[in-house]
C-alpha cells in the first residue's frame, strides 16, 4: 500500500487569458519509509504538487489518495482534521508562532488535536531532543538560528505522528552547516523512526542526500530514479 498516490493529478491556473498547467497529469506513488526529493527549476510546479498532496490546494483534475483515503473528496473541515492527523508540514519560513517557545510551538499541534497536557509535554520534549534542541526548548523562535527554527518545525511536523512529512524547500533559507544538520536529523528520523519524507528542493546538497529523485518540469514528471 502506498502512503501517497496521485492519478492524473492536474492543477490549472487561469492567468489572464492563458491557462497555466502548474501540475499536469502527474501519476506518483510514494511508499512508506521513503526519503524522496522533488526537484526542478523554479516555477516547475513543485510547490503546487506538494500543496495538492497535502490537501492545501484542490486538484483541477485527477485524484490524491493518502493511505487509501481519496482526500480530494473531503470537505474543508474534514480536510483540516485529516491534515492534522496524517500530514506533517515544514515550510520554507514562518513555520513557527513567534510568541511561543520552541516547546509551546511543538505542543500547539497536539493542542489542536486535544491531546492531554502531560502527553503533549513529554512528546514535545522527546521530539525536541530528537532534533537536538533540548537545551533550547524554552527559547522563542527569534532567539534561535534559522537552522534551529527549521529543526523545531520538523519536530512540530512530527508531533501528531503523521503518516509522512511534506517539506517545501525546507533548507532554502539556510547556510550549508545548518542545511547539513537539518538533513542529518531528517535522515536519522527516516532511518531510525521510519518516517516518510517528501520534500522539494533545488539545492544540490539536498539532492545529493535524497534516496529517490523526482524531476519535474512544466508540471510534469520528467524522470524518477531511486538511488
Amino acid at each position: 500500500m502506498s502512503v501517497i498516490e496521485t492519478k492524473k493529478l492536474s492543477r490549472i491556473y487561469q492567468d489572464g487569458d492563458s491557462l497555466i498547467h502548474a501540475v499536469n497529469q502527474v501519476d506518483l506513488q510514494v511508499e512508506a519509509g521513503e526519503f524522496t526529493a522533488i526537484i526542478g527549476p523554479s516555477g516547475s510546479g513543485k510547490t503546487t504538487l506538494l500543496n495538492l498532496i497535502g490537501g492545501l490546494d484542490t486538484p483541477s483534475e485527477g485524484t490524491v489518495t493518502i493511505e487509501n483515503k481519496p482526500i480530494h473528496q473531503l470537505k474543508d473541515s474534514e480536510l483540516i482534521n485529516f491534515r492534522l492527523k496524517h500530514i506533517g508540514f515544514v515550510f520554507q519560513a514562518y513555520n513557527l508562532i513567534p510568541v511561543l517557545s520552541a516547546q509551546e510551538n511543538v505542543e500547539f499541534i497536539m493542542l489542536l488535536q486535544d491531546q492531554s497536557k502531560s502527553a503533549r509535554e513529554s512528546r514535545a520534549k522527546e521530539l525536541l531532543k530528537a532534533v537536538g534542541l533540548e537545551q533550547q526548548m524554552h527559547k522563542r523562535p527569534s532567539e534561535l538560528s534559522g537552522g534551529q527554527q527549521q529543526r523545531v518545525a520538523v519536530a512540530r511536523a512530527l508531533a501528531s505522528k503523521p503518516s509522512f512529512v511534506l517539506a517545501d524547500e525546507p533548507t532554502a533559507n539556510l547556510d550549508s552547516k545548518s542545511t547539513e544538520d537539518l538533513l542529518d536529523i531528517m535522515h536519522r528520523l527516516n532511518k531510525e523512526e521510519g518516517i516518510t519524507f517528501l520534500f522539494s528542493t533545488h539545492d544540490q546538497r539536498v539532492i545529493d542526500r535524497a534516496e529517490r529523485l523526482i524531476y519535474v518540469e512544466d508540471g510534469q514528471i520528467k524522470s524518477d530514479e531511486k538511488k
Binding site: G54, N81, N95, V99, L100, F108, L111, L112, R156
Partner: protein, 406 residues
C-alpha cells in the same frame, strides 16, 4: 483556548509602542468623555438645585383654579390646616406667599412686575432671599411699605435703597390700587430674568392693599432636605387635601426634570462618538497586525488551525487592547470625578455667563454610578464591533496565497 489566550496576549506586545498608543488613546478618550459628562451632570444638577432652592421649592400648594389663572381671589382656603399636615408628615420647612401682577414705576421707567408678599423670616429661611441682598437691608418689621427689588430692575428704574417706587395693581374687586413703596434693599438672583420680574414686599402690606384679611395667601412653598421624598409627600398631602392644587417641582418647572434625561442621553451619545472614533484606531491597528502576519497565519491554517480559532485569536487580541485600556480609563475618570466632587472646579473666569443659567462659579462634577457601567458596556460593544472586521479579514486569507511569496 488557554493557548489562544496566551498567543493573543503575547501578540499584543509584539508591537509594544503601537499597542501602547492605542491603549493610551482609549484611556484618554474614556477619561475625557466621562469627566466631561460628570462636569455636565454637575452643572445641570447645580442649576436644578439652585432653581429649586431659590425659586421653585420642592412643592407648591395653590388654589385649584390657580393653574388656569393666577387671580387674586384664588386664595388658599385654610393654609393652617395644610401646614398642620406638613408638620405631621415631617416637612416643616415652608413659607406662605401672596402674589399679584402689577406695574412698578419711577420717573425713569415703568414696567410689569410680579409683586410677591412674603413673610420675611420664613421666606429667607426657605429661599435664602435675605442672604442675597447686595445693598440696603432685608425686609423687616420696621418702616412703611418696604420693598426689595432685583438688581436688574433697580438699574432700569434707577433706584437705590431709600428711593421710592410706585406699585400699581388691581385689588380683588378689580379696583386699581397704587401705593408708594420705599426700596429697602436690592437683591440678586442667579437669573437676571427673575431680577427683572419679581419684587418682594411684606405680606401684610400687600394683604391690606388688596383688601384681604391677615391670613390670605395664594401660595405655600415647601422645601425638603432633598429631592427624594417629594413624590411621596405630594401624594400624602394630596390625599388629605384633595381640593388643593399640589405640584412638585417637576410639574412646576418640567424643563428642570427634563434636562436630567436629555443630559444623560446626550452624554451617552458623546461617549458613543468618542468610542466610535477610537474604534477606528482599533480597527486600523488590528488590521495592520493581521496583514503583517499574513504568512504566519497562512502557515498556522495550513498546519491545522481552524478558522474559528483564527477568528477567536484576532477577537481576543482586540479585546485585550480594550481590557488594558477601558478599565483604566474608567478608573481614571472615577478617581478624577470623585477627587473633584467635593472641592469642585472653579469657573470664576466664566462666572458671568453661567450666572444667567442659574449656576454658581464652582462646578462639582457628579455622575450616577450607572454611567460608569453604561460606558463600560459601550466600550465592550464598540470593541466587539471593531474586532469583527480585522478578524473577518484574517478568515479570508488564503493560506496558499499568503505562502506563495514565502
Amino acid at each position: 483556548m488557554k493557548t489562544l489566550v496566551k498567543i493573543a496576549w503575547r501578540n499584543i506586545w509584539r508591537h509594544r509602542l503601537r499597542s501602547l498608543v492605542v491603549i493610551i488613546s482609549i484611556i484618554l478618550g474614556i477619561w475625557a468623555g466621562i469627566f466631561v459628562s460628570a462636569f455636565s451632570f454637575g452643572l445641570n444638577n447645580q442649576r436644578k438645585e439652585s432653581m429649586i432652592r431659590n425659586q421653585v421649592s420642592h412643592l407648591q400648594v395653590h388654589h385649584k383654579a390657580w393653574a388656569q389663572e393666577a387671580d387674586v381671589s384664588y386664595l388658599l382656603y385654610e393654609p393652617d390646616a395644610i401646614i398642620q399636615s406638613l408638620l405631621e408628615l415631617g416637612a416643616p420647612n415652608h413659607t406662605l406667599r401672596l402674589k399679584s401682577m402689577g406695574m412698578a414705576a419711577t420717573a425713569h421707567y415703568s414696567g410689569g412686575v410680579q409683586i410677591i408678599g412674603i413673610n420675611a423670616d420664613t421666606e429667607s429661611e426657605l429661599t435664602g432671599l435675605g442672604s442675597r441682598i447686595d445693598s440696603g437691608d432685608y425686609l423687616g418689621e420696621k418702616g412703611r411699605n418696604p420693598i426689595l427689588i432685583g438688581a436688574a430692575l433697580a438699574e432700569k428704574l434707577e433706584v437705590k435703597p431709600g428711593s421710592k417706587v410706585i406699585l400699581s395693581f388691581s385689588d380683588q374687586d378689580l379696583n386699581l390700587v397704587s401705593a408708594s413703596f420705599k426700596v429697602k434693599g436690592i437683591y440678586h438672583d442667579v437669573s437676571s430674568q427673575i431680577e427683572k420680574l419679581q419684587v418682594f414686599v411684606r405680606a401684610k402690606d400687600l394683604q391690606s392693599l388688596l383688601g384681604l384679611d391677615a391670613n390670605a395667601y395664594h401660595e405655600l412653598a415647601v422645601l425638603l432636605d432633598d429631592d427624594k421624598g417629594v413624590d411621596a409627600l405630594k401624594s400624602q398631602l394630596q390625599q388629605k387635601h384633595a381640593d388643593y392644587l399640589i405640584e412638585s417641582w417637576k410639574e412646576i418647572a418640567p424643563e428642570l426634570a427634563f434636562a436630567d434625561e436629555i443630559m444623560s442621553q446626550a452624554l451617552y451619545i458623546i461617549i458613543g462618538i468618542i468610542m466610535l472614533a477610537l474604534s477606528f484606531g482599533i480597527i486600523n491597528t488590528m488590521l495592520m497586525a493581521v496583514l503583517e502576519r499574513r504568512k504566519e497565519l497562512g502557515v498556522l491554517m495550513s498546519v491545522g488551525m481552524t478558522k474559528p480559532k483564527v477568528f477567536t485569536m484576532v477577537i481576543l487580541e482586540t479585546f485585550f487592547l480594550a481590557l488594558l485600556s477601558g478599565p483604566f480609563g474608567i478608573l481614571a475618570a472615577y478617581l478624577s470625578v470623585s477627587g473633584t466632587a467635593d472641592t469642585g472646579l472653579s469657573l470664576a473666569m466664566f462666572s458671568d455667563g453661567l450666572a444667567s443659567y442659574g449656576i454658581g462659579t464652582v462646578i462639582y462634577p457628579v455622575l450616577p454610578n450607572s454611567f460608569y457601567f453604561g460606558t463600560a458596556a459601550i466600550v465592550f460593544i464598540m470593541t466587539l464591533l471593531a474586532a469583527i472586521y480585522p478578524a473577518r479579514h484574517a478568515l479570508k486569507l488564503n493560506p496558499i496565497e499568503t505562502m506563495r511569496t514565502l
